[in-house]
């Protein structure tokens, strides 16, 4: 008996459900941030260091660029050479790692200037929101790095299409969340 055709691949479906839960996680964190901010008499509180808006803006551009390279990697699984797909995947992982490196450097400087998670609602919400996103980017980079050896050994780019598609969905989600957080936490 012939197997019925899948409407959505099981890996893609699982990732879509997972991303729905992730969206609720970030919605909860954003709600907590908005409420704490609205109830604070002054925001940001006096005596707390100002956030590096310019550097993080440039870092946002780096993350947005990684969405483009990930898109190209996904497109390369449809008929292009395996090396082309590998190049785009490596570029995506490198851009994600660069984003994390800059974020980490920022956090070290902010901690040195006295902004800690224990220093009040400002620090707590900053590290909860931005830290959660950073963990997600780190998970995305690790997943991509784990995919690279498989992609290297695969006889063709098309053989990796399903795995790349799942990674791509997660990557797009992580990239899409960041501009919202940047505007809320850094610009408003």
């Amino acid at each position: 008996m012939a197997r019925p055709q899948e409407l959505v691949e099981s890996g893609v479906l699982a990732m879509a459900v997972f991303l729905a839960t992730e969206a609720m996680l970030f919605a909860g964190l954003i709600s907590a941030f908005l409420v704490l901010r609205a109830t604070a008499p002054v925001w940001p509180p006096p005596g707390q260091p100002r956030l590096p808006v310019g550097v993080t803006g440039a870092n946002t551009a780096v993350l947005l660029l990684s969405a483009y390279t990930m898109h190209r990697a996904g497109a390369a699984t449809r008929g292009e050479a395996r090396t082309t797909m590998l190049r785009w995947l490596v570029a995506t992982a490198a851009l994600g790692a660069a984003f994390l490196l800059v974020q980490g450097t920022e956090w070290i400087a902010l901690v040195a200037h006295g902004l800690r998670a224990s220093s009040g609602p400002y620090g707590a919400t900053f590290y909860a929101l931005v830290g959660s996103h950073g963990l997600h980017v780190a998970a995305a980079v690790v997943t991509l790095l784990a995919l690279l050896p498989r992609a290297w050994r695969a006889p063709s780019a098309g053989q990796c299409r399903r795995r790349v598609e799942v990674c791509r969905l997660y990557w797009f989600f992580v990239v899409a969340v960041w501009p919202v957080l940047y505007v809320l936490v850094y610009l408003s």
Binding site: Q5, L7, A16, M24, A27, S31, L34, V35, A38
Partner: protein, 68 residues
């Protein structure tokens, strides 16, 4: 949502009851709306996406009818 917007202020909720001003109350309403509507939005987007996939996918061949 209608019940939430009609109640002014919702004294049953300690957070709304302790709201210190219209700005804070508006934030509570905004965040409650976000947390209420987001799951519904996700389900709606998912349904539209599945419908699009179903329309785009080639139809499976009709099962063979029994011949007399």
């Amino acid at each position: 949502m209608v019940a939430m917007l009609a109640a002014a202020p919702a004294h049953a909720c300690p957070a709304c009851f302790s709201a210190s001003g219209p700005g804070v109350l508006a934030t509570y309403v905004l965040t409650a709306g976000l947390m209420t509507l987001l799951p519904l939005g996700i389900v709606a987007v998912f349904a539209v996406w599945l419908r699009g996939r179903a329309r785009a996918s080639p139809r499976s061949p009709e099962p063979h009818s029994s011949q007399a």
